[in-house]
Subunit: 371 residues, 2 copies
């Protein structure tokens, strides 16, 4: 079967004007804003050795790779489905000797083998920042502040940050709320699914109150504090209180302590980012570890944003004044107009039509006149 001209594979698309410009402007503005906090840009390649990329990715990611054989190396390469792991590789290898904390930023396209129902696109623009060498409360607060500022410069309003405690079950199971090692994974899954019956059947009823301790951060924190045996979480709860002090005025903060989905590799804290009028999460982050070539682990904190949903709702669009230049316009005049922020559309034939070409103005006697 021949493919119709112009048809693209599912999940891959052309960005046309004005969205293509909006997308590139958003990425530029976001990465400049991140850079102002000292995050220096790195730009890893679109493809790497599959083996290297899989080693950096968590299990879920390794199934999501476009793979192909490289005739030069005779090895299988894969397209990156995520840039975070590549930044971790850079931090652990080529920038392993740089002083810590190391602040790195990135932004560019990623390709996923399979789309999700929520996100039908397979090529996405990912951007973010990683603070390598620390997962302290101060690090988390900085990363959250940078993420919020990035969303704000992108035009997102009504920002919600949903906090979670990815290793909650492991932490409690080792102490006041014991669970045999073989049941920890099952308990986590049931908490994630808010499956009270399942938890009871597992003999993990002590964990039931955590399901209720979700929602706006203040009441959720109060509920967590009231849970018998949850004292092992005290330092986590103090950290969340510090986060509330730091960013509670700027965003809505919610807490879902047992949310695990997508936080398989985050350590003590993870977060999802939401914005008004944007469906689904638009970014996420938290604390994690990168692995050095010698096998040692290093703590890190970071966030990622996906800009496509923002572009899709019209963020990043730039209004332009477009002036039509009749044939024979002096080049110095047109250069002056561009320096004054005009977009100039020069006639290349007598047939060119200012209105059809989307011009808002036409140059008459050296001055732009509204059409």
């Amino acid at each position: 079967m021949t493919i119709a001209p112009g048809l693209l594979p599912e999940g891959l698309r052309d960005r046309l004007p004005p969205q293509a410009e909006a997308s590139s402007h958003l990425l530029h503005r976001v990465i400049v804003a991140i850079g102002r906090h000292g995050y220096a840009r790195v730009s890893p390649p679109l493809a790497e050795f599959e083996e290297g990329l899989v080693g950096q990715l968590k299990s879920a990611g390794s199934r999501d790779l476009f793979r192909f054989v490289d005739p030069v190396s005779q090895r299988t390469l894969a397209l990156r489905p995520d840039i975070t792991a590549q930044v971790g590789r850079i931090a652990a290898t080529r920038m392993g000797h740089r002083p810590r904390p190391l602040r790195l930023a990135y932004g560019g396209p990623v390709l996923k083998l399979k789309a999700t129902q929520l996100r039908p696109e397979r090529e996405l623009t990912q951007t973010g920042a990683e603070l390598i060498g620390t997962d302290s409360v101060a690090a988390v607060i900085e990363i959250l502040q940078v993420a919020i500022e990035a969303l704000e410069v992108a035009g997102v309003t009504g920002i919600t940050v949903d906090l979670t405690l990815p290793d909650l079950v492991e932490t409690l199971a080792a102490g006041a709320m014991p669970l045999p090692a073989g049941k920890i994974d099952a308990a986590r899954d049931m908490l994630d699914a808010k499956d009270a019956g399942g938890l009871a059947g597992l003999g993990a009823s002590a964990y039931l109150p955590f399901i209720e301790a979700a929602g706006p951060v203040a009441p959720a924190l109060a509920k967590l504090r009231a849970i018998e045996g949850a004292q092992a979480l005290d330092k986590r709860l103090e950290a969340i209180e510090a986060i509330v002090v730091a960013i509670g005025d700027r965003v809505s903060l919610t807490l879902d302590p047992t949310e695990r989905h997508g936080f398989e590799y985050q350590r003590w804290i993870g977060f999802s980012l939401f914005g008004e009028g944007l469906s689904g999460e638009i970014g996420r982050g938290g604390t994690y570890s990168i692995v050095h070539p010698d096998g040692s682990e290093e703590k890190a904190t970071g966030f990622s944003l996906y800009l496509d949903p923002l572009v899709d709702v019209g963020l990043g669009a730039v209004e332009h004044k477009r002036v039509f230049l009749p044939l024979g316009t002096d080049p110095a005049t047109s250069a002056k107009l561009r320096a004054e922020d005009w977009i100039t559309i020069a006639a290349v034939s007598e047939a060119d039509d200012a209105a059809a070409l989307g011009c808002t103005h036409i140059l008459r006697d050296g001055h732009p006149v509204a059409l």
Copy 2:
């Protein structure tokens, strides 16, 4: 054999600070400059159906593709080795109904299966502009002016534009300097290789003087005008004279009328772009045709630049003032510094070292003090 951590496939690389930022700044500045001339950005996907991509590419390009099977469509996809062909597809299909001339710009990564000796990189940043619907002298002059401005905002100096006449042999062979159809390709190759003996052996000695008519544009034009039987080129030569008038003051102009290499799909004029201190060509363009779904052809004029050689010689680098903020610095103070163009590096622990972190200043009593 296990791949060493951090090792990348040949021709693929990480851009680290400050080059990664330089690369993204250059692309941004270039595409904004192109946009000021009315070229609206489009952003095609990184991968397409192989069949569609090969149809758009010329024969040389179709051998240069990374291919892989898409589990969703069960089809072979290929990574784009070039964005120009995708822009042609968009102009012919989704934007086929838009008024002409249609001005489109693009910029992003491309992946080539094989590197060349001159360009060992296989992932490159390509940017450019296409003026769809015309290949007139006015169109060529506009495209050359936009290309030169793009190079200028990127910081390139000593720009040389080398003009060529890709269909010179076809044009003359049909008129005053007849050649049998079967010998045209061979004559072109020999002219391209400046192989005088080969031309004579082919019975195409009449074409010998064209080999000598290369170099700085004024003497080359004079030599072309003096060639007996070259009157069929008069309109071309007038066009080149118009180009000299338009851009001769801004750049060095050379003419190599028989240069064919890489201009297999250009029509009446092609050009290569060079810059001082940059080895090899950094861009090229010319007149060509795009093919519509109904088989009709449409004339077009455009140029492409590759930004990587510019980044490699240090263009696009941005100097930053970096101020270290001790623990406990007021967020309003740090926001004010960023608004004043400072990069702020906030301490996240007592151990953080301003100098080691590359700071040029430290905040003392609310003011940045040089380190």
